[in-house]
């Protein structure tokens, strides 16, 4: 399955410096199956030594294999390095989505979703959303989750959630990610397992943080703040889970990772829960959820 892992490669230039910035870089598979890098100027060759990528993202291509590069992700960053990312084609992926529509959620590729709390349409000038609102009571919750908690696995899972905070983010806890159970919505999910985003005022989170929770209070790892959080603000939460690492980002910003992950195979489901840790009702609106696995 690893051939379908989304990945980003950085191809660093060799010591041969192009004569001018107008030169063009190319990538190709050499005879030994390694990606090589070539600069040309006026079609005169400047050929470097083969690049043997030494990190986990090594990609070897035989002379009959294919390199698939989607979108405009092949970028010449200037004199220092070239960078490109490639993602599996939609046709090759196992995926599911949840869309906000009106005052309810529509699943695609999974059999159903379950909600609690008060749901209402919360469309704005950016997108459609459904507001999940708790009762005005401490420890009340509002939530959206996949009815079956077996729609994802830990490894090779990519999750993207577009949500908007409510107008009051005091005394609140928001958990959003993939979990093996929806039974524990505390700051520490105890014996449950999950890889998720959290913002919790009771945990004094400085903003959105990413968490890998293996199976116990001690078996977990929390990132630094990925992004500060404000009321009435839309956030794009992205999470990639590899073999032994989960990478989090918010609004396509800096990536932070954790390695305290449950050992696969473990069945998981999507869950976003808003916990009222004060008294006034709390809300979070969800626009869309997209998950790719396998």
């Amino acid at each position: 399955m690893s051939a379908l892992k989304p990945k980003t490669l950085k191809i660093r230039r060799t010591s041969i410096v192009p004569a001018s910035v107008s030169e063009h870089g190319i990538l190709f598979a050499d005879e030994e199956g390694y990606i090589s890098h070539l600069y040309s100027s006026g079609y005169a060759a400047r050929i470097t030594s083969p690049l043997n990528l030494t990190d986990d993202n090594i990609v070897t291509l035989s002379d009959v294999q294919s390199l698939i590069v989607p979108r405009k992700t092949l970028v010449n960053l200037g004199n220092q390095e070239a960078q490109f990312a490639f993602l599996p084609r939609a046709q090759a992926r196992k995926w599911w989505s949840i869309f906000a529509a009106g005052s309810s959620f529509v699943p695609a590729g999974i059999t159903g979703v379950t909600t609690s709390g008060t749901l209402s349409e919360d469309n704005d000038d950016q997108t459609t959303s459904v507001k999940l609102e708790t009762a005005a009571a401490a420890n009340s919750i509002a939530q959206l989750y996949s009815t079956n908690l077996d729609v994802a696995a830990f490894a090779y899972t990519q999750l993207s959630v577009l949500l908007k905070t409510g107008n009051d983010i005091s005394n609140i806890r928001i958990l959003c990610g993939i979990f093996d159970s929806t039974s524990n919505f505390n700051d520490n999910i105890g014996s449950n397992k999950g890889v998720y985003f959290r913002y919790s005022t009771t945990a004094n989170d400085p903003g959105w943080v990413g968490i890998g929770h293996r199976n116990s209070s001690s078996g977990r790892e929390i990132t630094d703040a990925l992004e500060t959080i404000e009321a009435d603000t839309t956030y794009l939460l992205n999470m990639w889970v590899w073999d032994d690492e989960a990478v989090f980002s918010v609004n396509n910003g800096s990536e932070l990772s954790v390695s305290q992950l449950p050992s696969p195979p473990v069945k998981l489901g999507f869950w976003v829960v808003v916990v009222n840790t004060g008294s006034a009702a709390k809300a979070t609106s969800v626009s869309r959820v997209h998950c790719e696995t396998g």
Partner: protein
């Protein structure tokens, strides 16, 4: 239907300077400052030659900027492949249509069942169950323990036609001993046979009884059948849904892939352009032992 929406393979001619040591040469694409596609052959990483390439298929407007961005029609997903197909003689450049520009349907094997998107729920045979691998959860279908029984999924047999240039993909695995496995688009569900007979279709077969050492591509016009060499030797995979099978119809040719490579093609005995086809993914046991097929997901997009 605009031809630009069809999956297609462009054949780019090599530059006229013949490499002196062909066995060692690679052919490269690169972006010229004029925005045109250029090629260069290299041997042992030394420059060999340079020259422009003529793109023969004018239906596809490929522009490559200096920043190495491949731009295709806005209606196409800018996905492309660079493939040295036959030792520097030619390079194929398949352009895969963007999902947003095509009709499509998708079936996800999940939660012990199958969740359809863009298509009615498939009919199932056999006993269904849920399994979890390292990378995903998925659904398996198991036959009865009687020779000839089958397990898998089918749609109605009118959800796509060859004339719509379908791109079909399935990720799966199956028992590999004493089985027949059929995967693809057919006019009716294939039975416990190696030859489709009167059934028209395009798909994959794995049948050790027919001598298959891996999945083979199969097409049938209802009278005669054509078969590719095996896409991968060594049988089918029984570990996780680890076979990613794909075929693309482009006019009068069908290209078969496994994991995006290992291309074989067929251009005879295809179903007619207007033949209604439907999905079948199934395993058939050829002994009195239950066999399973694991189905992670099935995809089809078309004009």
């Amino acid at each position: 239907m605009p031809a630009r929406l069809n999956p297609k393979i462009l054949t780019l001619e090599e530059n006229p300077t013949s490499p002196s040591t062909p066995a060692n040469d690679d052919v490269l694409f690169f972006a010229g400052s004029d925005g045109r596609v250029h090629s260069r052959s290299s041997s042992s990483l030394s420059d060999r030659s340079a020259g422009n390439i003529t793109i023969k298929d004018e239906d596809l407007n490929v522009l490559i900027s200096n920043a190495l961005t491949v731009k295709t029609s806005p209606m196409l997903s800018p996905l492309y492949k660079l493939l040295n197909s036959s030792k520097h003689q030619e390079i194929w450049l398949p352009i895969i249509p963007g999902v947003s520009a095509r009709k499509w349907w998708y079936i996800n094997g999940v939660s012990g069942g199958f969740a359809p998107v863009g298509i009615a729920a498939p009919s199932t045979t056999g006993t269904l169950g849920s399994d979890t691998g390292i990378g995903a959860t998925y659904t398996y279908c198991t036959t009865a323990a009687s020779s000839g029984s089958n397990a898998g999924i089918t749609s109605t047999f009118n959800v796509v036609r060859r004339g719509y240039n379908p791109l079909f993909a399935a990720k799966l695995s199956a028992s590999d001993i004493n089985v027949r496995v059929w995967v693809g688009l057919f006019s009716a569900a294939p039975g416990n046979v190696d030859n489709l007979g009167t059934i028209k279709g395009i798909g994959f077969r794995y049948s050790p009884a027919a001598g298959d050492t891996g999945f083979v591509g199969v097409v049938s016009d209802g009278t005669s059948q054509a078969v590719t060499p095996p896409l991968s030797a060594g049988g089918v995979s029984t570990f996780n849904p680890n076979d990613f099978l794909e075929f693309r119809v482009s006019g009068d040719t069908v290209y078969f892939y496994k994991w995006g490579s290992e291309i074989h093609s067929l251009n005879t005995n295809l179903p007619t352009l207007t033949q209604d086809l439907g999905l079948c993914v199934r395993v058939i046991t050829t002994e009195a032992v239950a066999k399973s097929i694991v189905i992670a997901n099935v995809w089809c997009d078309f004009d």
